[in-house]
Amino acid sequence: MNAFELHQPKDLASAATLAGGGGDLRFLAGGQSILASMKLGLASPDAMIDLSLIPDMKAITVAGGVVKIGAMAKHADVAANADVKKAIPALADLAGGIGDRQVRNMGTIGGSLANSDPAACYPAAALGLGAMIHTNKRNIAADSFFLGLYETALDAGEIITAVSFPVPEKAAYVKFKNSASRFALVGVFVSKGAQGVRVAVTGAASCAFRATALETALANSWTAAACNAVKMSADNLNGDLHASAEYRAHLIPVIAGRAAAAAK
């Protein structure tokens, strides 16, 4: 890891100002992706802006049919939060299954969403629940947030402040793990609620996406069998060392079906 300058702003406005500076600047939220990249020499920022001292970024509230999670809330906090567990158990389960205990005690929801790792769990929840992503500048619907591999709708220097998840009637997340990294080889988040049926897939393409054919199938019949009858195309899916695109295409309906069966 190379040397870098560390900024620790005490409020959002200062963070935004710092982010306007030159050079290779990166925000530091939980650091569970960026720090590992830096150790491997894959990232080498000149400066980092630590967001952990900014107040009011960690709150978790449930009110008016919405679970609102501060961007700096840690996975372990979401997983253990009684209100979240009651309102959207699938979301608490998802948070409790990210990485390992060490990662969950450091990693944050804002960091995960901003990173748009193709195999991360939270993007599936954001898309699968139709979340709203709040930043220091605006609100961005999850549907228009994930643009590609590590690419989001965030502008340079824009900071996620919180994420609002509408409480669904039922939802579930099932992750079929890569046996090496234990990231999602295919992870599917299903939900049924005010926004209708939503099925979001992670691990299978350049970023999380909605599987509309599965949404239609589940809207017609909320069963595993309905999912299994859907044939996914392997086009645009990832093929790598761990799984071919064809196998991922096969897995998506299977895992979606299991999520549908598990939804509560």
Binding site: N2, L40, G41, F176, S179, A180, S181, N228, L241, H242, A243, S244, Y247, H250, L251, V254
Partner: protein, 784 residues
């Protein structure tokens, strides 16, 4: 039984320091005026090195020195030696290309050591190494083992078709005759995939030259410090052996990968005199993946001839084995001597022939990895037996029983003589422990849940306790394989034992102390075990091949016997009796048939304070050493039974139960033996279920160079293992022990694959049985 003696479940003496962070590993050693090395490694699998410009790196902060292959060439430093000569079936010796310690002219695998940068800190060394400017001319790479011999590219000019040797072993004509009269011939093609060893502690070294004594000291994470010293001094650097001390302190796992003499530590020793400062290097995990000697990597075709009753008549095995880019220390022996000689398994197959083509590829060198040749042999035999059982419509346990060896000693057609065993008893015990009788009901229950359940056997044998030196020598070994032990009794009766074997996780400090405490009738706290330092230990061949207790322990027992024999003479003097009337019982020397006796500590005190002592007949002191060279290998054997459940929708395999019943001969510490079995089984199942060291077939880039991509087994991948023993004592060493370190890794892979193929109803599936591979096998079977 003595509470802390032979057979007791004594908790490990070494664990307190390991668990409290007080272990002293190579990287913990920081010497005065310490410098640090970083290696510049080839990013290409095969490339000419047209030039190296060190100017930018040399100008970086903290850089002390930079060396390249040119310096090695100018200093006339020899290459790393290969320790085992193999002769091809046409009588020509194996081709042994030079293995320079820094690349000269060419780099031959991704990670090959091109240059070294030495700096004040490890970070400065790394930063400078990263700006070294190497002009590479990229060449096509030879990557795949199966096609290397047909490649138009040569890894080494002197092996134009990339063949290192073609070794034949056994009775080719006899096998041909057996095939002609066979009722049925079963066939099997398989791959035993390449593995990365993944010791928890990566390789590390710290070398220092002392001008006043004109001698070197090398601290190194290594399994056999005396072998390291001998090979490095005599064959590479030309350092007089008495001018070099090698210390292998606490070592965090080896699995074979730390047997070998590597370029990195050799460069450090050489450079330490040039820079006149100590130089330390610790591999990071990526370097470990790239540059540790890998394991396995065989492509094999097997054929088994049977009569109408499923009795084996002849067995032919043709294997292509990867050597990688250079010959690592014992690379040539692994797919030959440690493989071909084990192909009889537990069976009476009268004719066996094996032919092994060893090939060079532009990949990391391949060498011994837990089991070393014997897992590969067992995998071929036990998979073949499973296929044969299905072809003959016989129960897999039954076909094994029809072919078991039952009379001992038994000379196999592939050159070994098994001294003892009871394969029926072990199989029966495993069947009972695994509740094979209840399998049908469990399978039905799985099917009711839409799952597929399978059960697989593996009745393995291994040759351990390496080795009778004369036999090894006749087979091409360039080293003896005895062991030494020294028992130093201090005046107060406290005992320090020096062994040439080395513990890097095995628990020798406990097991060996139990043996000595038991034999001397003293508390285990009064015995300490020293190993891993050529400055302290007489000599040694180190730890691998499950040899430590069978060979190293035997040397210690011989030395203890000498201590007792001398003690009897001292006691006889003190008790005014004849030597022959003294017996040694529970730590006391007693005049037979009397109550006249003297305790061990009084005898030891007398030996060092010889006021009342037979100085005219006996030297003072109580310090004995012994060398032990075994007369045969030991033959641990057992039956493993694996039960799996496959999810047909995803292909994911869950291991529901795993039973291992082993015959390790007598057992000194059952808890440590169980731990070795657990670790070995986890390693074997890791290979069978998860691990795969993959190079890109075109570029030769290592695709699995981190834990993001290389799947290591974790505790939740496994059920609790059921472990049992069936003992037939080894007939030819004083403890009657056989060795237990590798059995788990040897026996478990075929048991697992046999279970998976049973579950999904296919003939074969290669390791690792990844979900996609299993799913595809089921798709193919469904469409067949």
């Amino acid at each position: 039984m003595k509470a802390d003696g032979i057979g007791a479940r004594v908790t490990r003496k070494e664990d307190h320091r390991f668990l409290t962070g007080n272990g002293q590993y190579t990287d913990d050693i920081i010497l005065p005026r310490q410098t640090y090395a970083a290696f510049v490694r080839s990013p290409h699998a095969h490339a000419t090195i047209n030039g190296i410009n060190s100017a930018a790196a040399a100008a970086m902060p903290g850089v002390v020195a930079i060396f390249t292959g040119k310096d090695i060439e100018e200093s006339k430093i020899g290459g790393l030696p290969c320790g085992w000569g193999i002769t091809s079936k046409d009588g020509t010796p194996a081709i042994e290309p030079a293995h320079p310690i820094l690349c000269i002219g060419k780099a031959r695998y991704v990670g090959d050591h091109v240059a070294v940068v030495i700096a004040e800190t490890a970070e400065q060394a790394r930063a400078a190494a990263d700006v070294m400017d190497v002009d590479y001319g990229i060449l096509p790479a030879v990557v795949s083992t199966g096609t290397a011999a047909a490649s138009k590219t040569a890894v080494h000019d002197q092996a134009p078709n990339n063949v290192c040797y073609t070794w034949g072993h056994g009775d080719e004509a006899g096998v041909k005759a057996a095939f002609e009269k066979a009722h049925h011939i079963s066939t099997l093609d398989l791959i035993n995939q390449r593995l990365a060893p993944n010791a928890m502690e990566p390789r590390a070294a710290n070398a220092v030259y002392d001008r006043s004594s004109e001698s070197y000291t090398l601290y190194v994470a290594n399994q056999n410090p005396h072998v390291e010293r001998l090979l490095m001094c005599a064959f590479v650097l030309g350092i007089p052996e008495h001018k070099m001390r090698v210390v292998a302190p606490d070592v965090g796992g080896g699995f074979g990968s730390k047997i070998f003499v590597y370029a990195e530590e050799t460069v450090l020793v050489w450079a330490s005199k040039r820079v006149n400062r100590p130089i330390k290097w610790t591999a990071d995990r990526t370097e470990a993946f790239l540059s540790d000697a890998h394991g396995r990597d065989h492509v094999t075709k097997a054929q088994l001839a049977m009569d109408k009753d499923g009795k084996f008549l002849g067995f032919r095995v043709d294997t292509t084995a990867a050597m990688g880019a250079y010959l690592s220390t014992f690379s040539t022996a692994v797919p030959t001597i440690l493989y071909g000689t084990l192909l009889a398994g537990q069976y009476t197959t009268p004719s066996i022939y094996v032919e092994v083509t060893a090939v060079f590829t532009n990949t990391a060198p391949v060498d011994a990895y837990r089991g070393a040749g014997r897992p590969e042999a067992t995998y071929v035999v036990e998979r073949m037996v499973e296929v044969a059982a299905r072809d003959m419509k016989l129960d897999p346990a039954e076909i094994r029983r029809r072919n078991f060896i039952r009379t001992f000693p038994y000379a196999t057609p592939v050159g070994l003589t098994y001294d003892v065993g009871d394969y029926d008893a072990t199989l029966d015990s495993a069947i009972k422990m695994a509740d094979v009788a209840g399998f049908a009901a469990r399978r039905a229950a799985s099917e009711a849940r839409g799952m597929k359940r399978g059960l697989g056997y593996s009745s393995y044998i291994e040759a351990c306790g390496l080795a009778p030196s004369n036999v090894a020598g006749a087979l091409g070994a360039r080293a003896g394989l005895f062991e030494s032990g020294e028992v130093r009794v201090h005046p107060t009766g406290k005992v320090e034992v020096f062994t040439g074997s080395h513990s890097h996780g095995q628990g020798h400090e406990t097991t060996f102390a139990q043996v000595v405490a038991d034999k001397l009738g003293i508390p285990i706290e009064d015995v300490s075990i020293s190993h891993g330092d050529t400055g302290k230990v007489l000599f040694g061949m180190g730890t691998y091949g499950s040899r430590s207790l069978a060979v190293g322990g035997s040397a210690i027992v011989k030395a203890v016997d000498k201590v007792i024999a001398k003690g009897k003479k001292i006691a006889a003097h003190l008790l005014e009796a004849s030597d022959t009337d003294i017996e040694f019982v529970n730590g006391e020397f007693i005049v037979k048939g009397t109550d006249k006796k003297v305790p061990f500590a009084s005898v030891s005190l007398t030996a060092y304070v010889p006021h009342n002592y037979p100085l005219d007949k006996l030297e003072p002191g109580l310090n004995e050493n012994a060398f032990y060279d075994p007369t045969n290998f030991t033959y641990p054997a057992g039956t493993h039974i694996c039960e799996v459940e496959v999810d047909p929708q995803t292909g994911k395999v869950e291991i529901c139960a795993f039973t291992a019943v082993d015959d390790f001969g007598n057992i000194i510490n059952p808890m440590i033996v169980e731990g070795q079995v657990h670790g070995g089984v986890a390693q074997g199942l890791g290979q069978a279920l998860l691990e795969d060291c993959i190079y890109d077939p075109e570029s030769g880039q290592l695709l699995t160079a981190s834990y993001m991509d290389y799947a290591m087994p974790r505790a939740d991948d496994f059920p609790n293992f059921k472990v049992g023993n069936n003992v037939t004592a080894c007939t030819h060493n004083p403890l009657g022990v056989k060795g237990c370190g590798e059995a788990g890794a040897i026996g478990s892979p075929p048991a697992f694959i046999n279970a998976v193929t049973d579950a999904i109803g296919v003939k074969h599936i290669d390791m690792p049985a990844t979900p996609e591979r299993v799913w595809r096998a089921m798709q193919s079977a469904a469409h067949a």
